[in-house]
Symmetry: C2
Subunit: 311 residues, 2 copies
């Protein structure tokens, strides 16, 4: 697989639809400067829009459109990309997703069915709909067009002048870090950061293959895939420099720091990479070869309500 | 007054302290692309930090340090800049400022006195403190070092590749737009945007001199100066291209759009410039000379509580 070519093609075909998100250097979040990619300003609030657009722009979409079972970032991204491109979209949202994320998906214009109970119930309905109508499912992280789309983030960051030699990325199913590894291929040190209660990549690398893990904790609604994607796993075996885990307390501390220092309001998953720096899981190298560190994977406040009190 | 030289010197002396804030182009906020300067990510959440740092770095600060009466962006910026530079800072905050802003000032490490009642009570105490101790007041908008500091925003934006020929800026006391006019001096069309219930610049230009106006409305806590600054007034007479007003409803609509489209959480003052575009107060020119429009003056959610439910 020529990931660099796949990612360049993804960037080319989706550039008119994907938000070029700003970057920012902070001198106060860590003892060294930290570069941030403000990807939570992406359409629907996360990098997932990149993979969704690339998938729908590169694969044939059936007349029945697309279907997803999700109350999370992926579902919102698929709903947004499909409706923006003029396709039908049917999203089955588990009731537990909460009103804020349901409202976000509603605003895209996609057809939305709120399913009582847990995620599994929504997934069951989505599969039945897929079988009945022939609608297409967009994979959340373990498909080439998805990974190539997420890879455009790192390509874009390099175009914006990224100077850091080390890049920290939070890991759930592995779509974002997989795309970054596919683009960089060892050109920078990529560090995987996982919540201690959702270590899919760590478990897979220890076991020698993707395995199911129990997931929980504050970031689970965004990083709570049960198993690392096989594409990401292969790329991580070849190119990952290091992996670390962080506690929920460290994630919440980093989340608060982003708000207090820079008024950046992100969900726990969006603060997970930074948590590795602030908690000391990653120490600055004594060598000047580590002039600054970069934390990607800033995501939206999916768990937070719309700031109703504010409006 | 050589404003370009003042602003260049301000940028030089404060570059180590001021956050270089990111810029972003949105294709979905208006019928044409809109460039945004995300100045709400500045230290303490507004451009006021620029003027505060430049003032404290260019004027002699007495041993008693600095004093301010403010529960708003200026007070937080002065508190932050003073403590960061190692000066004593005493801030008198009116009780009505609310817990979020009081907490923001507290976190800077400045000495803080919460004064019961209205702003006037806090101001009275600040003046008494100034007379007693010899501490210095930093002007909020009508002083050369303040205006020159705010002018660094537009200089920085040009360095970041600003392409727009028209720049919209919200106006309160006139510090930000005054600095921008001083830097640009007619090189781009600068449009002043004022809330209908806080039209200090409009009233002054009609009267031929700064005059007191009644202020109220959703943006009054940040744009509610009673009278435009004389420095800004002079610059506006020479260089302002146009001025428009927007309703409170239009400001709230723009504020909500920034949140829903891009997860940008700003106070009403930070959405006021954009409101001029979305409400139709500024129509796109038919000529291609108006390829995109830029709304500066994105400020922080001062009136909103800390998102306690989120953490």
């Amino acid at each position: 697989m020529d990931w660099k070519a796949e990612i360049a093609a993804a960037a080319e075909r989706s550039t008119a639809y994907v938000q070029r998100t700003p970057v920012m250097r902070s001198a106060v979040l860590w003892e060294h400067p930290v570069d941030l990619k403000l990807e939570h300003l992406q359409h629907t609030g996360s990098f997932k829009a990149r993979g969704a657009f690339n998938t729908l722009l590169s694969l044939p979409v059936p007349g029945a459109g697309v279907v997803a079972a999700s109350g999370g970032n992926h579902g919102a991204a698929v709903a947004y990309a499909a409706t923006r491109l003029g396709y039908r979209a049917q999203i089955f949202v588990p009731e537990i997703a909460g009103t804020a994320k349901i409202a976000l998906i509603e605003r895209t214009g996609a057809a939305l069915t709120v399913v009582p109970g847990e995620y599994a119930n929504a997934l069951e309905q989505a599969r039945a709909y897929e079988a009945e109508t022939g609608a297409m499912q967009v994979h959340a992280y373990d498909a080439v067009p998805t990974l190539a789309g997420q890879g455009t983030l790192m390509r874009e960051w390099e175009q914006q002048g990224l100077a850091a030699d080390t890049v920290l990325i939070a890991v759930g199913g592995g779509g974002l870090i997989g795309g970054a590894l596919g683009w960089l291929q060892g050109a920078r040190r990529v560090v995987a950061v996982e919540p201690q209660q959702a270590r899919t990549l760590d478990a897979a690398l220890q076991a020698g293959a993707p395995v199911d893990v129990e997931v929980s904790g504050v970031a689970a609604n965004a990083l709570g895939a049960r198993r690392i994607g096989s594409l990401c796993f292969g790329l991580a075996q070849r190119h990952l420099a290091r992996r670390v885990t962080v506690t929920d307390a460290a994630i919440v501390e980093a989340q608060r720091a982003l708000w207090q220092a820079h008024r950046l309001l992100v969900e726990p998953a969006g603060a997970t990479a930074l948590a590795a720096l602030r908690s000391g899981a990653i120490a600055p190298s004594r060598a000047s070869a580590w002039p600054c560190c970069s934390a990607a994977a800033i995501s939206p406040p999916t768990r937070s309500p719309e700031p109703a009190a504010f409006f």
